[in-house]
């Protein structure tokens, strides 16, 4: 490759003298032609002109010759780049403004994408994760409920769709014998679970088929974190014994650090021995299953396969749940499902911010394009092709975008740190968000996209440049031409529209948050301390033992100074997870099997309602007369009562059949009706609910509520002492003011609302800048015209009105367009809007007023300048 080598050598010699050589050579060539002409008898002037003409375009010749020495594609880009960077350096303020705008947009977009990627897109760390399915049962009313152990065994043994299937079930157990009793978290699994997750132990072994058998020796597999924390990473741990709920488990192995399935747990226990005690197909625990689809099998056909098994079982082993079928969803989607909607809203919002940023940059570039119109015209006149000019412009905007993108990545890093710190726990894998390769690739793509998008406008304007006009000295028509104006105004209209959409969406969410925070949750949430306990099952086996424990504890707590009253409930408001079950009303016609209604069933003691400050609508609360073995009673809430009767008071005396008409179950008489309490969180409407008295339906898991005279936090230490003194082996699950519980129920909403508000604010600042810039430019371009109008006797107020009219028309067009978008947004936000109708006109009016105000504010200065044009000075300049 001698040619290539010559070029390299030449490049290394820094092309000294080449241009001079070529110039001199061409000069000599023309001299030869000149002399030839003279010899033919032309006059010197003729000879000179003819020589030049005959030689041809010497500049192009010289450039083409010089070009052969370059690595052409790279060189032109480098040349464009050099030129672009030079023009950036020459106008640092302008460039800084563009960089800042792009960095803001790209940074915010990248940060949100890093969260979205981590939560939704990054594959879960299991082999063949795309074939992993989350399995459960589905009923005519609900899908994805737990699968019973016996059904699971049938599925595992009789299916044709899965290569392997494992069951799992989260469990909480009390650890004793290693310091204070603590509540620990475990996952019950069948041995196949570890094949599906692909985990290998770092010491000891995993579970084997033998561990799945009923009556197997109880064994436990430790998580690395638990092993390090509780056992000091003792290498001899395998073989030792762990006491869980008072029962010894032999440690068989330790898992590697960092592995987890869903939430992190302390250890894994074999599910088989515990679950195999169930005797019928309708005995539900909280078992879910994980299946590895055979290659090429779809979720639908897998579901059909399992449904077939369920149908066969309904015939061979009939029971109350013969209408149950299967549920199979992709594991990835199941894990990420809840966070999807809010994250998509954020991604869309931040994408809109990026678009506004691009629009601003585009309009800045357009304005500079006008300032450079003459330069571009000259380049075109001396032979630069349209393609070459376009490449130059695009290279310049890409250079800006890449610099902006780099700055944006830095910003994104800060943003992301803030998101991880402030983000709610309900966004899966948020803490794992990082600026890794896919995220950086996204940032690069966003930067290039922005560069091309922003570069498009000046390009379109430049294509229409009228050379003769542009080259004329002082021509007013240079102002980017008609197309440039249309583009600029279009950009402003788009910015206003997008800003309106964002303002409207964030308004909806802010209002929802305010409603959720201030709405009456049905009880008095202040001055309440919530103590969550879970009695170890080994020690507290009987109803009596549990009742005994809680009645003693409540009595002790009530005696504490500062405690006004005490009550206990199984599931406190906003606890989220709660148990619903079938029921029927005894004196109503029995519903069809598939229409049996479902409601929340909760357990509360006699002091609970008054302690919480829940209002009584009719009847009475539980009392000490509701004894075990006595007439079974229930309190229902208003929502429940209204479902069946026209007035809460009419519910009193009716009887509820637990489990519905097709299942054995107790019957409870309604003795009281409570006002609605929203069980699912502050931002959810109250749901029909039934409370059963603790005295008749005991549970080991209760939350003790203490109404305190002062700050509830002040009683935490005392409450902890009381629990410890009653029984050291009862672990405290949580102990915190109820307000903190409630706070977490709004965490995701708060996070989403705050971010959306920030994006809307960012959009407003950018749009304000955009409006200001374009109007200011318009005033500059029209100063002469204004001066003439003034000279012709126009009043300044008329000038002001003329300019303001233009601004107003732009704003109006933007708002009309934005209103369309807002209408779409109000439909797509759906469940994120709480407590009022998203389509209510007030919100859109409010958003419109805000954006109008914004437009007026940013148009103010340019309009003022328009009205203050100094006619005399301008007319002198003519």
């Amino acid at each position: 490759m001698p040619r290539w080598w010559s070029k390299v050598r030449y490049a290394l010699q820094r092309r000294r003298g080449l241009d001079d050589d070529l110039g001199d050579e061409i000069g000599a060539h023309i001299e030869f032609l000149y002399e030839e002409n003279l010899a033919r008898g032309m006059t010197p002037a003729e000879a000179r002109t003819d020589a030049r003409r005959r030689f041809g375009n010497s500049t192009v010749t010289r450039e083409r010759a010089a070009e052969t020495w370059r690595f052409s594609a790279v060189e032109t880009v480098l040349q464009d780049l050099r030129y672009g960077l030079r023009s950036i350096r020459k106008t640092p303020g302008f460039a800084l403004l563009i960089l800042l705008t792009l960095a803001l947009g790209i940074g915010a977009t990248t940060a949100i994408f890093s969260v979205v990627y981590s939560a939704l897109l990054r594959p879960l760390p299991y082999p063949a994760v795309e074939r992993l399915a989350w399995l459960g049962e589905s009923t005519p009313k609900a899908s994805g409920v737990s699968v019973t152990w016996i059904n699971f065994e049938h599925w595992r043994n009789e299916n044709h769709a899965f290569a392997e299937m494992a069951a799992f079930n989260w469990t909480d157990r009390t650890l004793t014998g290693r310091g204070d009793a603590t509540l620990t978290h475990g996952l019950l699994v069948t041995s196949a679970f570890f094949h599906l997750t692909g985990w290998r132990p770092i010491s000891g072994r995993l579970f084997s088929l033998a561990d799945d058998q009923p009556g197997a020796t109880p064994v436990v597999l430790l998580s690395y974190e638990f092993w390090a924390r509780t056992m000091g990473a003792d290498p001899h741990a395998p073989g030792e014994v762990l006491d869980l709920d008072g029962k010894p488990y032999q440690i068989v192995g330790v898992l590697p650090p960092g592995v987890k399935f869903g939430r992190a747990v302390d250890y894994y226990l074999p599910l088989g021995p515990a679950a195999s005690k169930t005797v019928n197909r309708s005995q539900h625990g909280s078992i879910r299953a994980l299946g590895l689809l055979k290659p090429g099998v779809s979720l639908e056909s897998a579901r059909a396969d399992l449904d077939g098994i369920m149908r066969r079982l309904a015939l061979s082993d009939p029971g109350p749940e013969d209408d149950h079928r299967s549920y199979a969803g992709s594991l990835t989607e199941t894990v990420t499902g809840d966070a999807r909607a809010p994250l998509m809203v954020l991604m869309a919002a931040v994408g809109l911010v990026l678009l506004i940023a691009c629009a601003n940059v585009a309009s800045l570039l357009l304005m500079r394009g006008v300032a450079r119109a003459r330069e571009i015209a000259i380049r075109a006149a001396i032979g630069a092709g349209r393609g070459r000019l376009a490449r130059q412009l695009v290279t310049e905007s890409l250079a800006l975008a890449v610099l902006g993108g780099a700055a944006g990545v830095l910003l994104a890093w800060w943003w992301m740190r803030a998101l991880v710190l402030a983000g709610p726990a309900s966004i899966p894998r948020l803490a794992e968000a990082k600026l890794d390769l896919p995220v950086l690739a996204f940032a690069a793509a966003a930067a290039i996209f922005s560069g091309l998008l922003a570069g498009l406008a000046p390009l379109l304007a430049a294509q229409k440049l009228d050379l003769t006009l542009a080259l004329k000295e002082g021509s007013g028509a240079v102002a980017g031409g008609r197309r440039g104006n249309a583009l600029r105004y279009g950009l402003v209209v788009a910015e206003i529209a997008v800003t309106l959409v964002l303002a409207f969406a964030s308004g909806l969410l802010i209002r929802s948050l305010v409603v959720a925070q201030t709405s009456d949750p049905g009880y008095d949430h202040r001055h309440l301390l919530a103590l969550e306990l879970q009695l170890p099952g080994g020690t507290y086996k009987t109803d009596d033992a549990r009742r005994q424990y809680y009645s003693q504890l409540l009595q002790n707590l009530r005696a504490q100074p500062g405690v006004e009253s005490v009550g206990a409930v199984n599931m406190p408001p906003s606890a989220g997870e709660s148990s619903d079950f079938w029921y029927s009303i005894a004196d109503q016609p029995a519903p069809q099997r598939q229409d049996v209604p479902i409601t929340l069933f909760n357990i509360a003691d006699s002091g609970y309602f008054s302690t919480m400050g829940i209002r009584l609508r009719a009847g009475r609360w539980f009392s000490d007369t509701d004894k075990p073995g006595g007439p079974a009673v229930a309190v229902v809430n208003e929502q429940f009562a209204r479902k069946w009767w026209s007035h809460p008071r009419l519910a009193i005396g009716h009887r509820i059949k637990y489990g519905g008409p097709y299942m054995p179950g107790d019957v409870f008489q309604i003795v009281g009706v409570a006002a609605g309490v929203s069980q699912m969180g502050l931002d959810a409407e109250p749901y029909p609910e039934v409370w059963l008295p603790f005295s008749q339906q005991s549970s080991g898991a209760m939350v003790v509520m203490m109404r305190t005279a002062g700050s509830p936090a002040g009683l935490i230490a005392a409450a902890r002492r009381q629990v410890a003194s009653l029984d050291r082996n009862v672990p405290i699950q949580s102990l915190k003011p109820l307000d903190e519980w409630l706070g977490t129920s709004l965490e995701l909403r708060r996070f989403l609302t705050a971010l959306l508000a920030i994006f809307a604010a960012l959009a407003m600042v950018l749009a304000a800048g955009g409006i200001y810039g374009v109007l200011n430019y318009w005033v500059n371009a029209h100063q002469k015209e204004i001066a003439i109008r003034l000279a012709m006797g126009a009043r300044r107020s008329a000038i002001f009105g003329w300019a303001a009219g233009r601004a107003f028309r732009l704003a109006l067009a933007g708002i009309a367009l934005g209103a369309f978008g807002a209408w779409g947004v109000s439909r797509s936000l759906g469940s994120l809007v709480f407590g009022f109708a998203a389509g209510s006109p007030w919100m859109i009016l409010g958003a419109t007023a805000t954006v109008m105000g914004l437009a007026a504010l940013s148009a103010g200065l340019p309009l003022w300048r328009a009205a203050r044009v100094d006619a005399v000075r301008w007319l002198h300049d003519f």
Partner: protein, 116 residues
Amino acid sequence: MSTVDELRDKLELLQGTLEVLILRSLRAGPNHAYGISQFLDTQSDSQFVVDNGSLYPALQRLLQQQWIAAQWKVTPNGRRARYYRLTPLGRKQLVAATSKWQRFVEAMARVLAPEG
């Protein structure tokens, strides 16, 4: 009008032919760009259009291949001009290219010749 017709009648140079023609023009001895274009014009009976926009880049490519070398010299009538001369490598290339072109021309002629 006649110039337009003249231009239309002239032959467009095929890709790669200009380089061979330049090498050939230098076989007689070193020459400058003007001289080369004069030579090509007269030798081809003004049949070839050699525009300077092609000649100069072609010269650079030959320099890069090291088939020719350049040197500033003074012309007989006292002007400075850049003279190109064939290198030994260029001489070999010229021989190879000439035989290749002759084969090409003969083949073209055989194919295009009237039947019989």
